[in-house]
Symmetry: C2
Subunit: 255 residues, 2 copies
C-alpha cells in the first residue's frame, strides 16, 4: 500500500518534520520502494518533485527534507506499485490545470474497470488507474462547472460524490486539492491531526525525531496534517472510517 | 532578457554541463535574478523544478547541477521579470497536458495585447504574458487536432505559424516541446549546436569548466543544445536569425 501525506495550513508552513517520517517508509521502515512525489503550493503556484527511485535513497528527497519549502497546501505520495510500471509518468501526485488553478491528486488503492470510463479533456500520460481516475474526476468537475462555482460547499459535496463513486470500484484513499481546499477520502486508511495553540512536542513513530511545535509556530497558526497512518506517537490523531470524506481549508476542517 | 536552454537527444543525456553555464547567468555573470525553472522528460514522464529565487544561490539549482538526471528533452529558463510579479506561478517553464502528453513552454520577450486574446480550455495560473501565450497556442493546437495528427510535419508547420503570429505582437523567443519534438522560435537571440561523433572537448564561456564529450558519450549519440547565447567558446554554434524557426527530434534537426 502507498503512503499518502497532505497538509493544509493558514500560514506558509514547512513539512520537513512530517516528510522525514514519511520518507523512511520509502524503503527503510516500509515497503514503498517504487518512487515518490510531492507537490507544494505557494500562493497559486505549485512546485512538484517526483522521483521514481526509493525515497530513502533519493537525493531529491534529502533536499525536500532539509530545505524548508513553506507552503499552505502539500500533497505527497510514496508508491508501492501494483498497477502500472515503475516510471516517472506513473509517479504521483498528478497535476492538471482547471479554472486557472493547479489541481493535484494522489491516490492509493485499485479501481477495477476505471479504464473503461471515458476521459474527455484530460487524458492520462502514464498507465496507472490513479491518473485515469483523476482525469475522469476532473472532467466531471469541469462538465459540471465550466466556470468556477462561488463558495466551496457545492464543490466539496460534488467531489465527495465522485470519490464515493470511485470507491465503489475498489479502494480509493485519495488526497485532492485545487490549491485552496484539501479533499480527503478514506477507503481503508487515512488519519488527520490539526495542530493549533497551545502547541506541544511531537515525536515521530518512524524515526527518532522530536519537534517542539511551540518553538516553531506562532499562536495563530492552524496546521492540519493528513496521512495514511498517524506519523507521531504523542498526538491525538483522528483515524477516519472507511467511506469517510473530509475537507480542509487554511488548516480548518470545513466538511 | 531571460535565458533559455533546451536539449534534444537520441539517448538519455544529462545537461549538467550546459546547466552549469546557464546557472551562473542567474545572478552571477548575468542579471537574471528573478527565478528559474527546468523540465526534464524521461520517457513520457516529465519532471520539473521551479524556484523563484536566483539560480546561483538556489539549493535546487545546485541539486540539478550535481545530480545527473538523464533526459532526451529538456527545457529551462532563467527569468528576468519584466511583466508579472516574481512568484512561483510566474516562473517558467509552464506545462500543460494535451493528447496525454506533457507540453512544456518557455519564452522570453514581451507580447503586446496578448491578454486580449481569449483562452479557452487552458487558462493561465499566473499573470505573465508568456503563460497566456502558451495557453492560447495550446488551445489553437487542440482546436486544430482534437486527436493527435500522424507524423510531425503538419504539427511543426502549424506551431511555426502560431509562433510567427505571436512574434507579431512583440518579441517571441520560444522553446516548446510535447516531449518528442523540441520547437524553437527566434525573435532576437537563439543559437543551437548539435554534438555528434567525433566528439571533442568543450569549454564553458561563463565558468572555468571543460568537458571532453568523447569520454562522456558513445559514438551513436546525437545531442542538440539550444540556448539564448552560445554557452561554449570552442564549438561551432548556429546563431539563428530573427524570425527563424527550427525543430529537433531525437537530437536531429528536422525542420
Amino acid at each position: 500500500m502507498c503512503e499518502l501525506l497532505g497538509m493544509s495550513a493558514n500560514v506558509p508552513t514547512d513539512i520537513c518534520f512530517s516528510f522525514a517520517g514519511l520518507m523512511n517508509r520509502g524503503g527503510r521502515t516500509g515497503p514503498h520502494r517504487d518512487g515518490w512525489g510531492i507537490a507544494f503550493y505557494e500562493g497559486k503556484g505549485c512546485r512538484t518533485f517526483h522521483d521514481p527511485h526509493p525515497s530513502c535513497e533519493s537525493e531529491i528527497a534529502r533536499l525536500v527534507r532539509e530545505y524548508p519549502i513553506k507552503s499552505c497546501v502539500v500533497v505527497s505520495h510514496i508508491r508501492r506499485a501494483n498497477r502500472g510500471r515503475v516510471m516517472l509518468e506513473n509517479t504521483h501526485p498528478f497535476t492538471r490545470e482547471l479554472w486557472g488553478r493547479v489541481w493535484t491528486f494522489a491516490h492509493n488503492g485499485q479501481l477495477k474497470g476505471i479504464k473503461r470510463r471515458p476521459t474527455g479533456f484530460y487524458r492520462p500520460v502514464g498507465t496507472t488507474d490513479s491518473e485515469h481516475a483523476f482525469c475522469w474526476l476532473l472532467d466531471r468537475v469541469r462538465a459540471r462547472w465550466p466556470e468556477p462555482p462561488r463558495g466551496d460547499a457545492a464543490l466539496t459535496a460534488f467531489v465527495a460524490g465522485l470519490a464515493a463513486e470511485l470507491n465503489g470500484l475498489g479502494v480509493f484513499n485519495m488526497l485532492l486539492t485545487d490549491g485552496r481546499t484539501l479533499w480527503c477520502h478514506c477507503a481503508t486508511h487515512l488519519a488527520w491531526l490539526t495542530r493549533r495553540a497551545p502547541f506541544g512536542p511531537a515525536t515521530l513513530i518512524d524515526e527518532d525525531m522530536t519537534v517542539d511545535f511551540e518553538r516553531e509556530t506562532t499562536p495563530g497558526d492552524v496546521v492540519t496534517v493528513v496521512a495514511t497512518r498517524p506519523l507521531t506517537r504523542d498526538e491525538r490523531w483522528t483515524v477516519m472510517a472507511p467511506g469517510e470524506f473530509v475537507a480542509f481549508r487554511a488548516g480548518v476542517h470545513t466538511a
